[in-house]
């Protein structure tokens, strides 16, 4: 005998935990009297049990670390905030030294003039400094209040204070590139330099 689709529908409602009490009675009564439907019902329950019974997978080892390493880099300020939080003593000591030794704020305000570190193959046009294509500039390049265009190679760190930098596709910097554009960054820049000198454990917190 072929049973009504309705009974299978009731089975699904039951399996979804959404069956009305009176329908559940109808289903139960029917299953008692119909071997065919009872078999189908048991097959459903068994199917669900084996699907649920598949073993639970663990994500691969180091998964989180890999994800974290693939994220776009965070903004500098948060890196700094975390560094301050994790190294409050060094931070306090550096800040103290910054305020004691250099008058950071006044230098920030005074040093509004264009200046650049002296390397002979740097090309200077007004407030723009160019690392020409094909040239290799040795040593750290520091530009204040100007624009740096890197078309060749810099073998060292690049620091731009209150300025802008353009890195051409052929341009290359072997060291770190740092841009200091606000008073906040300016203090941070000084603190880092002092922190480097105070203790040599400065390797997090930055970017």
């Amino acid at each position: 005998m072929k049973c009504d689709e309705e009974i299978v529908e009731l089975m699904h409602e039951y399996l979804d935990d959404e069956i009305e009490p009176q329908n559940e009675m109808i289903l139960r009564d029917h299953l008692k009297s119909c071997k065919e439907c009872e078999t189908i019902f048991n097959e459903f329950k068994k199917t669900i049990a084996v699907v649920k019974g598949t073993s639970r997978m663990q994500s691969p080892p180091n998964f989180t670390a890999k994800v974290m390493a693939s994220l776009p880099k965070e903004r500098k300020k948060v890196g700094m905030q975390r560094w301050l939080r994790n190294h409050p003593l060094i931070a306090a000591a550096s800040l103290f030294l910054v305020l004691m030794t250099g008058s950071v704020f006044s230098t920030w305000n005074q040093e509004r003039e264009f200046s650049v570190s002296k390397q002979e193959n740097l090309v200077i046009q007004n407030d723009t400094v160019i690392v020409p294509e094909g040239e290799v500039v040795k040593g750290d390049v520091v530009v204040r209040n100007g624009v740096l265009k890197i078309e060749g190679e810099v073998q060292g760190d690049v620091t731009i204070i209150n300025g802008e930098k353009y890195l051409a596709s052929a341009g290359h910097v072997t060291g770190q590139i740092e841009e200091v554009n606000e008073v906040f960054d300016w203090i941070w820049y000084h603190m880092k330099r002092i922190a480097f000198e105070v203790v040599d454990i400065f390797n997090e917190g930055e970017e």
């Binding site: 699904h12 019974g53 598949t54 639970r56 997978m57 965070e74 905030q81």
Partner: protein
């Protein structure tokens, strides 16, 4: 748990990248599992899970914080899986089915190297057939079955994740369940 997640999300939005690690840690198994059951092999599962977390991070500001984070994350991951299934060319599809049985290689290796109790071998074989049958389901039934029976999510959550009416989710679960019953009743 939701409260902790919400707190971490706020930190991430403020720019504290490290706060995201805990979120990844909490959901990594679930998302990886989803990828494995949807795509059938570990490599693609890891790939898709990584991409899902990266997308969640990049788009975190567009996450509506009144909603459940897991629903949003599962939506990203499920969509990535479905896209990938649709993009698979037939020959590649066949490949995936073969590599999808990498438990089977594990099974044969285990069988040859270390004598396992009969029962465990049986259960490995069973695991294999279940995985194979899930992978044979068309993607629209596969996703609801995996979300319901592997990830153990409610019908309402599934409807939100897939952005489908509850009725459609139910119909798909019924069809998927029926297809699996036909294939698995004699295992």
């Amino acid at each position: 748990m939701e409260a902790l997640i919400k707190k971490r999300i706020k930190q991430v939005i403020k720019g504290d990248q490290d706060a995201f690690a805990e979120i990844v840690e909490i959901y990594s198994n679930g998302i990886y599992q989803l990828g494995f059951r949807m795509l059938g092999n570990r490599h693609e599962a890891e790939d898709i899970a990584q991409e899902a977390f990266i997308r969640a991070y990049v788009n975190i500001k567009s996450f509506n914080q009144d909603l459940k984070f897991s629903t949003w994350l599962y939506r990203i991951a499920t969509n990535l899986c479905i896209d990938r299934i649709r993009k698979k060319k037939p020959d590649y599809y066949l490949d995936a089915e073969v590599s999808g049985t990498d438990g089977l290689t594990m099974y044969s290796q285990l069988a040859s190297n270390s004598p396992l109790p009969e029962k465990e071998l049986e259960s490995l074989e069973l695991q294999e057939s279940v995985q194979k049958e899930i992978l044979k389901l068309p993607e629209k039934y596969r996703s609801v079955i995996v979300l319901k029976y592997i990830e153990e999510l409610s019908l309402n959550e599934i409807s939100e994740i897939l952005d489908l009416p509850l009725g459609t989710v139910k119909t798909r679960i019924h069809r998927g369940r029926e297809a699996l019953r036909q294939q698995l009743r004699y295992v």
